[in-house]
Structure formats: structure tokens, C-alpha cells
Amino acid sequence: MSTPSPQPPNSLLKTKVVKKAIVLGSGLSASVISLEIVNQGYDVDLLMPGNELINLDSYSFPDEHGRRSAVEKMKIIGSSPRIRLHRDCTITSIDGSPGDFEITFNEADGNGSVRGGAIVLALDPSPSGIGLGASVVTNSGIRGIIENDAAIPKVVVFIEGSSTTMSCPAQGTTASIENALSIKKKRPDAQVYILVRDVGAPGFFERTYQIAQEKGIVFFRGDFSYRQSLGGSGSLIAMDPVVGEVNIHADLIVRDEGFDLGSNPILARKLGLYLSQEGQPPRFNTRLHPGETIREGIFVSRGLGASILASENFSEACAVASTTSELLSKEFLEHGAEVAFVDKEKCSACLACVRICPYDAPLIGDKGKAEIQVAKCQACGMCVSLCPSKAIDQRNWTDAQLSAQIVIASKGDSR
């Protein structure tokens, strides 16, 4: 048994949360998120890349009800005193820590700066098909092809989620299944495949999913890769856990909607987000942590304006808004219980920690020694085990604590 002894205070840094959110984007999801956050009682600064808030004509709604509710929401957002609109924004710098960010930007009428407790990214959707070779469209793109009676290719592959982050789609596979069924209706001899880790067919959509299977749409529940042959044409390799590898010569690939931070790497670097090869920021499981990124205080919504089901647009936007409000509802954010810290005597400023950190937390300070920024450290401990001088240790996960556990566990007689 251990004897309790006084412990050092757990929190090193206490940030007072600024009760405002900063939303980047101008589409439908940006608008819905802003409205929802305002409904929770927090002010919103909406930084728009363009001039106009939203053009509803560019979105397809499955029914009149969806369009009407969107139009009503747009009316509110234009007149709400709690939402400040900034037009034609170019972001110049992002400072601060979770709970108190500061963004400076150039807008249509001069320079500006806003402070907020959380940043929400809700940028426009674009197909994230880099490296896939075949022609790639989003679900809204294929919708346009179907509605305009354009020629539908023979082999169409829907890919859900991203190969690098293995995230599953937020609301499941509903949009892809609907589109796949429309393709089958227009061109019965088309071969349609859906690659998805986890089929999500909520509620009565289960019936549609069943019909899709009866119509001959093939679902692969597994990973995929893309192999380019010498002739330039490529083939998609689907790895199914049951049937194994299957080669598909895809004419058209339909990707998940996803916004393209890849074309804006400067913004990504300023936000401190690490991008996958498809230009997507890494995210946690969208069902368990909707909208959260690896950075605390920065939230992301997939560009969803063009998804087929209005319910999907709104529910993801609401999920992102609610996780954001949850952070804003706190009075203080405390950091530091488990962060790494540097013994400056031992540090030789070799930059090993600076290079390994996924969160850019360590930096070489004024005195030429490494320092760990408390607000950025997420306590993974990679720098601790890598440090060649053993100058870094982790609060409450110290080497001494770990080695005490190892000694007890290795003795093996206490049982």
C-alpha cells in the first residue's frame, strides 16, 4: 500500500475562456454552425473567404421542406446582432491557445482582428481524390451528372471516408447509397461499388440499404489502395476481409465530401494542423468526437452543403456546434496535468523533441534550451522517450513512476 503524500498542483496554465466562437467559411454548414452557437448563447465572428454569405441555388435539396428551412435560417443569420460578418477575409496570423485565440486578417474594409475561445473550420467541399488517378467527383458532382442526364460511366466506385485517416462518414453511407440507386435506375448495366468501413444506415434508411443490395450494388467493408499500371490506367484494389483483394477498373470515383485544406496549406500550418496526403486534417472518430481535430479548441465540419439529405447537413453542423459550445461553456481551461517538461541542465538543444512532436509543442527558448509550451502539449510522451539526454520527463507519468510499475509487474510473486 502507498502512503498519500502532498502532490504538486496539477494545473500549470489556466486560460480564461473567451465566450466567442470564430467560424471560417461561408457555406451552408458555416451558417448553420454559427446560428446554433448563437442559440447556445455565444457570439460568433464569421470570417468569410468570399463576399456573399451563401447562394442557396448551388445546393441541391431532396425536398422543398429542406430548402424552406434553409432559407429561413439564412434570413435569421442576416439579421442576428450576435453574428458579425467579415467579408473577403485573408487570414494573416493566428495566435493564442485554446480558450483564447486571436486571429488577425485583412478584410474588405481594412485590417481586423478577432478573439474567440474556439475556431470552427467550415470551408467549401471539394473532392479529395489526390493520388487516385481516375476521374474523381463528390457526391454532389455525381448528383449533377445524374440529374442532367449526362453519360454515366460503366464502373462507378464510391469511396467513403479517407484512406489515411480511416475516418468513417459522419452520418453513414446514406448519400452514396441514394446516388448509387439513382445510377442503377438510369443505367441498369452499370457496376456500382461502395467501399466503406462501416455501413451507416440510420433509421428507415435500412430499407434503402437492403434495396441497394438487392439491386446488385456491391459493398466492400475494408481498406483500399490504388495501383497505377505502366500504361497510365490504374486499378483500384479493394481489400475485403472476407473475399480478400479485388481489382476494380474504375471509370469514375466518387469521394466523400471533404473540404480542401490542401490548397490552403498556409492556413493549415497557422492552425497547427497536420495534413494527410489528401489535404485533410486528421480527425478522431467522427461518431465519438464529432468535429474535433487533434488541436483542442479547433473544430472542423466537413463541407456538407451539397450532401443529398438535408438532415445530414444540419445534424453534422449541430454536432460541431454543440462540441464547440461545450468548450465555450467552461469558465477556464486548465492545462498541464500531464505535460512534458524539460530539465534545462541536461538539455543539449539537439532539436529531437522539436522534430518528433506531432503538436509543435517544444521549441528552443531564449536561453538556447528546449521548452515545452504547456497549452500545446497533448501528453503523448513521444519526446520523453526520444530525448537522447533524458532531459524530458512527463508530469504524472514520470520515468520513476513507470519503472516502479515495471519492477512490481516483473516480480510476479505478489499474486
Binding site: 478522431f284 503523448c380 509487474a409 516483473s410
Partner: protein, 137 residues
């Protein structure tokens, strides 16, 4: 003293511990020879930690992390695999068998896989015998 095997499992908070908890939920019988040491991320596990266990008398050590590309901290499991490979080399050169240390990747819902990986290590210890460092002491 005890005739039981001494196997240590380093489990990361997200993949490994999740799998252990899932195995408990599924009422899978876990071996008493396996002791679990939780860590925040497998990136925290150093070669020193792996080797210290053998010096203290453990028969085998395995580390359980998230699936590759799915690490909560982006590449902690990749780092851990490098450390495990280093430890394997050290063990081989010491004359202990490098097979005594192994790395497994699993998702937090793979309780069965965790039990299987524990079985693999138990089977290896049965084949290789107890840690020679412990016998001599």
C-alpha cells in the same frame, strides 16, 4: 517461488486499454500471467522500459497500440514499433531471444485480438522457457 510466467503488456490508452476493457466486457478469461501497464501513448515507451522489464525478471513483454494510421497521437505506434525492433536486436545480441518482445496493433473494439496476442506471448514463453536472467539470480 512462483512458477507462473511473467508477461508485461504495455497498452496505450486508446487502442490497447480499449481492447482490454472490451475483452473484459465480453467475459473473456484473461491469463493471470499477463500484467498490464497503461501508458498515454505508445510513443512514451522507450527501449529502456522494455529492457528494464527483462532485467527485473519478466519472461516476455508486448506492447499493444492503435492500428497503424489510426494513432490518436498520429504516429506514436510507428515510433513504438521502431523501439520494439531495437529491443529485439538488443535481446538477440544478449542471447535472450528477440521473440520475447513483440508489438501488436489493434483497435479498441478488438477484445478477441488482445486475448489472441496474449496467447501468442504465453505460447512463446512456454517454448523459450523462463527468462534466463531470472533463473540465474
Amino acid at each position: 517461488m512462483s512458477q507462473g510466467k511473467r508477461i508485461i503488456a504495455y497498452c496505450c490508452e486508446h487502442g490497447g486499454i480499449g481492447a482490454v476493457e472490451r475483452a473484459e466486457e465480453e467475459h473473456r478469461q484473461s491469463s493471470p500471467d499477463v500484467v498490464i501497464i497503461p501508458v498515454k501513448c505508445l510513443g512514451r515507451v522507450d527501449v529502456l522500459h522494455l529492457l528494464q522489464a527483462f532485467r527485473e525478471g519478466a519472461d516476455a513483454v508486448f506492447v499493444v497500440g492503435c492500428l497503424e494510421k489510426n494513432c490518436h497521437h498520429l504516429y506514436g505506434n510507428i515510433e513504438a514499433r521502431k523501439r520494439v525492433d531495437q529491443a529485439k536486436h538488443v535481446l538477440d545480441s544478449l542471447g535472450l531471444n528477440g521473440e520475447r518482445v513483440e508489438m501488436f496493433n489493434m483497435a479498441s473494439n478488438q477484445g478477441l485480438e488482445f486475448m489472441q496476442s496474449a496467447e501468442i506471448m504465453i505460447e512463446r514463453v512456454e517454448r523459450l522457457g523462463p527468462n534466463p536472467l531470472r533463473v540465474k539470480r
